[in-house]
């Protein structure tokens, strides 16, 4: 009984692993990683030996009954569809006792007739809407992919090539009728790995200081640090904004329809100004900001040349030509932004 339970847990994890990857990708290494290769292959090919009368198939049948779509994975005739992970866990957790419920064959036969998506949807009704949202979105994507009928097959290829390679097991989908050619599979795996390597290189270029590092683990370290620091910056900046503005205050009438040069650029000042005026009345602003305008006008020709950071602030001409009261303040705000930008770059 324990053995069966353990097996079922293993199988659960495998299901999770199989469910986890997005449909357009073809690797589910994590799940198969956890299992030793022979067992993985055995589990995945168990329907071929279907009614052996052993404990395993019935157990799996019992687990998988509410998820005929997953049964189809074993069956290998249909594409994977993924009900949400948490739903599966909840369900699987309830299956503490596995009674042999008959051979694998009948449920498999049922599978072929049922549309997997509609079936997994009701089965996951118990999850919270957010998870279901995710599942729904994933299913939409899957539907597109499903249009091309592919045979699903998993290959537990124990690749230990290269140092620091990430994919010991590769789950590859094979077209119906295409040979389980080790050669073609290897090609596909290689193409996959090339793609991943190319993306890693892009990442390395993006993250500063990663170019000199060699070795996947260290590069990943740097990337992790970078992402963490970016997230921390977001937190910090939002804190700062909250501190600067005693309350979030907006003037709805300042948000005007676009009149200026381009659609985007003129709306930006309108958007910015309400936020920027926490408690100072509009009148007070205008006097304060006369000087920045002149300042701005003086430096305008220089700034006109620069493009990098003043990406969404280049049409200063159009802004400065506004005369409505709201826009004068708005232009002032942008002038201030540019000033700080300018000084930031040490000109």
């Amino acid at each position: 009984m324990e053995h069966a339970a353990l097996d079922s847990i293993q199988f659960n994890e495998q299901i999770q692993g199989l469910m986890a990857p997005a449909p357009e990708s073809t690797n589910s290494f994590t799940a198969l990683l956890e299992l030793p290769p022979p067992q993985a292959v055995k589990l995945l090919h168990s329907p071929d030996k279907a009614p052996t009368g052993s404990e395993k198939p019935p157990c799996h049948a019992s687990i998988l009954k509410p998820y005929p779509s997953i049964m189809s994975i074993i069956d290998g005739t249909r594409k994977l569809t993924f009900p949400s992970n948490t739903a599966l866990i909840e369900r699987a957790a309830r299956f503490s006792v596995f009674a042999g419920e008959g051979p694998l064959a009948p449920p498999v036969a049922e599978v072929k007739n049922e549309p997997p998506e509609t079936d997994s949807n009701p089965s996951s009704t118990q999850c919270d809407p957010a998870v279901e949202n995710k599942g729904a979105k994933r299913k939409e994507r899957e539907k597109k992919v499903k249009a091309r009928s592919k045979k699903s097959k998993s290959v537990a290829a124990a690749e230990s090539s290269g140092d620091g390679e990430k994919l010991p097991y590769v789950h590859v989908r094979v077209r119906r009728g295409q040979a389980t050619d080790s050669h073609s599979l290897a090609e596909r795996v290689n193409a996959r790995r090339e793609k991943i390597n190319a993306r890693m290189k892009l990442l390395q270029e993006l993250v500063p200081g990663c170019n000199k590092i060699s070795g996947t683990a260290l590069v990943l370290d740097e990337i992790i640090n970078h992402v963490q620091s970016l997230q921390r910056q977001v937190e910090f900046l939002s804190m700062k904004l909250a501190a600067v503005n005693p309350r979030i205050h907006f003037n709805l009438d300042s948000i005007m329809p676009n009149e200026g040069a381009s659609l985007m650029d003129s709306s930006i000042p309108n958007m910015v100004s309400p936020l920027m005026w926490p408690e100072i009345p509009n009148n007070g602003n205008r006097e304060q900001y006369q000087q920045p305008w002149q300042f701005d006008a003086f430096q305008q020709p220089v700034w006109g040349r620069e493009e990098e950071n003043t990406n969404f602030m280049t049409p200063e001409n159009s802004m400065l030509s506004y005369d409505s009261s709201a826009n004068s303040g708005i232009a002032a705000v942008f002038a201030l932004m540019k000033i700080t930008n300018k000084s930031g770059r040490g000109c």
Partner: protein, 169 residues
């Protein structure tokens, strides 16, 4: 490469629209922390929505935010992350059993290091735990870019608002 400028503009517009909700709905003054969370949340959602839901992390972010509702505490978000952690714990049990039998070769060690880090990266990414290896890299790329744009826009706002209050230091 996307048009960075339009992305930032769109993000800013959506962010302000989202922030307006807070000022309209609640007449009372929010505490500092609440304000900060409101700002951050609306910024995150705005950033995610500018990606037009083409990426996984953006979907996950929005889903998380919507699951937590309008409450700034996001307690239900913690629940979902807890269940995800449980899933990861169940998975994590396995490698230990397996590695005892395996012989320690350099490639194994390297592989394990990389696994650890990919897992960490997945935890960082919103909605990244149940994600595939190949997509992970793409998602990280995208996420980093969007984060950068978001930070720039926020920084502009911070400096601008500071200067308004205190124009000439």
């Amino acid at each position: 490469m996307r048009n960075q400028r339009s992305v930032k503009q769109e993000f800013l517009r959506k962010w302000i629209t989202g922030l307006r909700r807070y000022s309209c709905d609640e007449k009372k003054n929010m505490s500092f922390l609440e304000r900060k969370k409101a700002i951050k949340l609306s910024a995150d959602i705005a950033m995610a929505s500018t990606r037009d839901k083409t990426t996984r992390w953006s979907q996950a972010l929005i889903a998380n935010a919507s699951s937590s509702g309008d409450t700034l505490t996001g307690s239900s978000k913690n629940n979902s992350s807890r269940s995800r952690k449980k899933m990861l714990m169940m998975r994590r049990r396995r490698p230990k059993v397996k590695s005892a039998k395996k012989e320690m070769s350099a490639s194994c060690i390297a592989k394990r290091l990389v696994e650890k880090r990919t897992r960490k990266l997945k935890n960082l990414l919103p909605g990244g735990e149940s994600i595939d290896e190949g997509c992970l890299v793409e998602e990280t790329l995208d996420y980093i870019e969007s984060l950068r744009a978001q930070i720039e826009v926020m920084r502009y706002l911070v400096t601008a608002s500071q200067l308004i209050i205190n124009p000439y230091p």
